[in-house]
């Protein structure tokens, strides 16, 4: 892996600034909400709705940046900026990065 899943400095800053309990609540909310965003991304791709696709990628990027989830943020940002491609949107790759990120975030919660 070329990019770290979680930038621990960013995550530590979040916990310091907002309190550990709140940071945990935020992570839980993200883990609950992210599948909706990925679903919206897929729906946008299926419907050919470039706006919905871009918006879902944008939301994922924005949230990933909150937790220092660098790899996920980079991936989502690329999708946001390049827009909905004519064929084969890179959703499976994003889902894989998300699965790893979610795993890493859960580990941080349990730590």
């Amino acid at each position: 892996m070329t990019q770290s899943l979680i930038d621990t400095a960013v995550y530590a800053e979040l916990t310091d600034a907002m309190g550990a309990a709140f940071a945990a609540e935020l992570v839980t909310t993200f883990l609950e909400d992210a599948p909706n965003m990925i679903a919206a991304l897929k729906q946008g791709a299926t419907d050919g709705d470039a706006d919905a696709y871009r918006r879902a990628a944008h939301s994922l990027k924005s949230n990933a940046e909150v937790f220092g989830a660098t790899a996920l943020a980079t991936h989502a940002r690329d999708m946001e900026l390049s827009g909905l491609p004519a064929t084969a949107p890179p959703i499976p790759a994003l889902e894989a990065v998300y699965a790893d990120t979610a795993h890493a975030l859960r580990a941080l919660l349990d730590a």
Binding site: L14, A17, M18, F22, E25, L26, T29, F30, D33, R55, H58, S59, K61, S62, N63, E65, V66, R77, E80, L81
Partner: protein, 341 residues
């Protein structure tokens, strides 16, 4: 003042962002409400007051740009400070937000120190502005306040076509001599309440109040369709209300009030007169003098409402007016035609 908490509205379609922003705002000692998109935010802004809007750009239904545009077009919300918080890419969007009136633009995740500084500064500005507005509303009419808010304050003039109305209570000095001071002020205030109501319901504004005398403008600063007709209608409304007031006064044995109205139509010079420290929006010129002379003349001819030919020409055809003897008023070289209702 700095420590007074503000009420902020956070607009973001993303749950994590809403939670994070709410927490940040609350940690800074303020209270927050949230809206999921621009449309909901506009509904909330219409329903309750907020001090600052924290606005995301990328949102379904109504995005941040559309919210900024809607705020700009609404005189009541135009001055609400907006801080844009977005993870939007590109300088263009930032420039667009600032051009649309946003106070500042913060990339997400928002730096809390910067947010605190900006929120405090915006709150202070908002409070100062609210206070100014309150003062303005108290000492100027809605139209003049709007005029000032739109164009800013500048001593200077403008030529307009308008109708001027003067009125005062006949023999008020004699009436008030037998009255207690409180009763005198109370009576004047009742009279002003009725007169303001009559003038504003006809689209005019009260420009000056001196003792029991009052000057109202129709057609300035905002043009109205038929300023002459409106001024005459205001005078008639006022007479009807005075009659009702006199009925009440008769019951308690107080003398009837009689009010004289002088109305003139024509070109006036309108603007803020005074100094930078103290000024008032008013009209000056020959038309104003003529209206004042007409009002004074009501006593000599024992009529309630007198007006000039320019006013008469603009009244509805069926209006029942009577031409009185021409007058040579002080300050006017020619004889002036005088009409009574």
């Amino acid at each position: 003042m700095r420590d007074t908490p503000g009420r902020l509205l956070i607009v973001d379609d993303n749950k994590v962002n809403r939670l994070l922003m709410t927490r940040s705002v609350e940690q800074l000692g303020h209270t927050a409400a949230v809206a999921e998109n621009g449309r909901i935010a506009m509904e909330m802004l219409a329903a309750e007051p907020f001090d600052i809007l924290l606005l995301d750009i990328e949102m379904p239904e109504m995005d941040g740009f559309e919210v900024l545009e809607a705020l700009k077009a609404d005189p009541k919300l135009r001055d609400l400070p907006v801080i844009v918080t977005s993870s939007d890419e590109g300088l263009d969007n930032i420039v667009r937000c600032i051009e649309l009136g946003a106070e500042d633009y913060f990339p997400k995740p928002v730096n809390k120190v910067l947010l605190n500084a900006r929120v405090s500064a915006s709150l202070e500005r908002k409070r100062l502005y609210d206070e100014q507005k309150k003062l303005l509303d108290r000492f100027a009419t809605v139209e003049v306040a709007e005029h000032l808010n739109r164009g800013g304050f500048a001593i200077g003039g403008q030529r307009l076509h308008a109708t001027i109305l003067f009125c005062d209570i006949r023999d008020f000095t004699a009436i008030s001599e037998t009255m207690a001071p409180e009763a005198t002020i109370d009576l004047i205030n009742t009279y002003y309440t009725l007169m303001f109501d009559a003038v504003s319901s006809q689209g005019g504004i009260v420009s000056l109040m001196v003792g029991d005398g009052l000057m109202a403008l129709f057609g300035a600063p905002k043009p109205i369709e038929n300023s002459a007709q409106s001024a005459v209608a205001a005078a008639q409304d006022m007479l009807t209300m005075t009659a009702a007031l006199n009925d009440e006064r008769a019951v308690v044995g107080e003398p009837a009030l009689r009010i004289g109205f002088g109305i003139a139509t024509g070109e006036v010079v309108a603007g803020y007169t005074g100094t930078d420290e103290r000024a008032t929006y008013t009209c000056v010129g020959k038309t104003v003098n003529l209206a004042a002379r007409m009002e004074a003349h009501t006593k000599s001819v024992d009529r309630d409402i007198l007006f000039d030919e320019e006013t008469r020409l603009r009244l509805a055809e069926h209006t029942d007016c009577e031409a009185l003897a021409d007058m040579r008023f002080k300050g006017f070289s020619d004889a002036i035609r005088v009409f009574a209702l």
